[in-house]
């Protein structure tokens, strides 16, 4: 069997005087979409930053495709809760940021950036600046930027949390489409049960203080999932089970 795309083994992390994460272990297979669900302040974002190499590990090991994480790497892409676009770059140039300066980008990178913008429905907005984009558009540009170098592992930190409910659901479907075109390992942090069930192959539930895994459940719903999926009994049963677990965890 091939090595997992991501492997966590006894991962722990503390800020001074506060244990944030303790003894976290789980694997993500290549092409597997995992949602990490947990209450606010439960260390979900910290977990992603540890995997991304943005924070130094407190304890345990994080392996991406078999090699330990020592810092940010090109085969890992990340999006954040805010779109974090650079206001002085156009949408296209923001997608090209991982390649450096616009003039430094190779023709292949340019073509890819243009294709990605087309894939997220923003081909016509390539030359707009972030101030001209709506929240949903900006976050889609963030998704495209993450995908520029075709990473094997996606890390997403509540990327749609700041959007309104309608936009949020549409964004989840955009993400699903991008992911289905080339399924890759993904860790998607959220506190929305609906979003987790709409997107993930597996849901990992974290409890807080310190953050630890309390459930690791498969989501056996067929793809592509659509708003109709959310009306099926299977979806609702899972959602209810997660809700109950969530209430226990939060209590």
């Amino acid at each position: 069997m091939s090595s997992p795309a991501l492997s966590l083994d006894g991962v722990g992390f503390s800020f001074p005087g506060r244990q944030v994460l303790a003894g976290l272990s789980f694997n993500v297979a290549p092409g597997e979409f995992v949602a990490v669900l947990g209450p606010s302040g439960g260390g979900k974002s910290t977990l992603l930053r540890l995997i991304a190499g943005l924070l130094p590990l407190g304890a345990g090991r994080v392996l991406v495709r078999g090699t330990p994480v020592t810092g940010p790497r090109q085969d890992v892409g990340m999006v954040f809760q805010k779109a974090t676009l650079l206001p002085w770059r156009t949408a296209l140039d923001n997608v090209l940021l991982p390649a450096g300066f616009r003039r430094g980008a190779s023709p292949a990178e340019r073509t890819r950036a243009e294709n990605l913008l087309a894939a997220i429905g923003l081909a016509d907005s390539a030359n707009y600046y972030p101030a001209q984009l709506s929240g949903g558009m900006a976050q889609r540009v963030g998704l495209a930027r993450m995908l520029l170098h075709d990473p094997d592992l996606l890390l997403m930190d509540e990327p749609f949390a700041a959007l309104d409910a309608m936009t949020r659901e549409r964004m989840a479907l955009v993400l699903q489409k991008l992911w289905q075109e080339r399924p890759r390992a993904a860790v998607f942090v959220t506190h929305s049960i609906q979003e987790a069930l709409l997107l993930a192959d597996r849901v990992v539930v974290l409890a807080h203080s310190p953050g630890r895994i309390v459930a690791d459940w498969p989501v056996p719903l067929p793809r592509p999932r659509a708003p109709e999926t959310m009306a099926t009994p299977e979806f609702n049963e899972l959602a209810l089970k997660l809700r109950r677990l969530f209430d226990e965890v939060a209590a």
């Binding site: 930053r49 890992v76 990340m78 954040f80 650079l86 991982p98 907005s125 001209q132 949903g136």
Partner: protein, 264 residues
Amino acid sequence: MKAAFARFAPPLVTLVLILGAWALATGPAGLPSYLLPGPWPVALSLWNGLIGTGSFWPHIGFTLTSTLLGYVGGSIAAIIVGVAAAESRLFERFVYPYVVAVQAAPKVALAPLILVWFGFGLASKVVLVALICFFPLLVNTISGIRGTDPELIEMARSFSRSRGFVFLHVKLPAAAPAIFAGLQIGIVLALIGAVVGEFVASDRGVGYLIGSATVNMSVTTMFAGVIVLAGFGMAGSALVQRIQRRVVFWDNAERHIVTPQETA
């Protein structure tokens, strides 16, 4: 045409009122001309100095040379030192408190000392101007870089391990509005520095022209000199502002661009 009129008419009215009050105050019943010359003699002196005999131009050339050399030199130094300071914890802890302290001190007080060190020619003026522009821009550069949105920094870090990448693509452009604010302050201070240097000791420059006019009580020349300086100060400030609007266009971009509708 109508819009231009609406824009320029009110300040023009103010100007006419001021000139009128000035003429009245210096009229037969007003102040003696050796204290306050009327607008007409001052205009005549300006005309003579700039066009008639052209006697102002060597002075203007000298003042502008020291202003520009000092401004450019001081600004480049301030940005380089500011970047180094903002990126270095050691500098911040050991040196920055003193930078703030020196920033609060009036640098013009150093003018006599600088003249002793660098002579009475152009060099001392350039150094004084550079010194005066240096500190506000230094402080602005440091606070601009330090004030970069930490979320943008983290985003850039997630794409590259290189500090240079984060600096070039995020911190430096994010600091640009603050740097330009410093450059804007600097251009006005630069002119002040040059004139103060010329007051203290010089044989040329608009500051010297004004200073030497005191000796022979030529108040009209003093007024003409001040008006020339005001003109160059305004022009320099406007030029920096134009460049600023072009370079940091995003800083107020929302105001004059149209937002397209969300296309889903």
